[in-house]
């Protein structure tokens, strides 16, 4: 179920990357794909009626199969922070592109192609 949602979001992101001519929309599309892939990875570790992987005081009474898989969550945790770093780098590159070519639309850039 959540698999389907994330796959459709990936498809929308690919569609945005292919159709849009504005470079800012490319960054937005890449960010959408980022979020969708994170949801997919977390969904691979979900167990029905599982609990969050945190030991509490009520530990001796817990049933062994009650945790969801914590490994994908740990992977996604680092992936999100890397995502904001690379996104900020891309946005700052866009500022330079705008100063140099006076537009961020692929078709209106000055001094490119022709």
């Amino acid at each position: 179920m959540v698999y389907g949602i994330s796959i459709i979001l990936i498809g929308i992101g690919i569609y945005g990357l292919m159709t849009q001519k504005n470079l800012f929309k490319h960054i937005v599309s890449l960010s959408i794909i980022d979020t969708a892939v994170n949801i997919f990875i977390v969904a691979t570790g979900y167990v029905s009626n599982g609990k969050a992987p945190i030991y509490t005081r009520a530990l001796p009474g817990f049933s062994p199969n009650s945790f969801v898989d914590p490994l994908p969550q740990a992977l996604v945790l680092t992936a999100i922070v890397i995502g904001v770093g690379t996104l900020a780098l891309g946005a700052s590159l866009l500022v330079r592109v705008k100063e140099k070519h006076s537009s961020i639309n692929v078709e209106n850039m000055k001094g490119v192609g022709e």
Binding site: M1, V2, G4, I5, I8, L9, I12, G13, Y15, G16, T19, Q20, K21, N22, F24, K25, I27, V28, S29, S31, I32, T35, N38, I39, V42, A43, G45, Y46, G50, K51, A52, P53, I54, V68, Q73, V76, L77, I80, V81, G83, V84, L87, A88, A91, S92, L94, V95, K98, S103, I104, N105, N108
Partner: protein, 80 residues
């Protein structure tokens, strides 16, 4: 819970389509922020509170702010 996940997924798909196809870039950034905020609910539904906190702080706060500041620096950026 299942119906709530479907509703959240539908809202995410609508927000993603709007973010890709919006005429003004400002609308696109706001729609992307809304998508991140709804994904927080999905993370909580999948019992991942750490990821949910990180996504709420990063996706809805910092990424939106960074993109808006760059948009301000580009003086609106070329609208379509």
């Amino acid at each position: 819970m299942s119906a709530l996940i479907w509703i959240a997924g539908g809202m995410m798909v609508v927000a993603a389509v709007f973010a890709v196809e919006a005429k003004r870039i400002l609308d696109s950034v706001i729609a992307m922020s809304a998508l991140s905020l709804i994904s927080v609910f999905l993370f909580i539904a999948m019992r991942a509170p750490d990821v949910a906190i990180t996504e709420a702080a990063v996706g809805a706060g910092l990424v939106t702010a960074v993109l808006l500041v760059t948009l301000f620096r580009m003086k609106g950026g070329g609208d379509e």
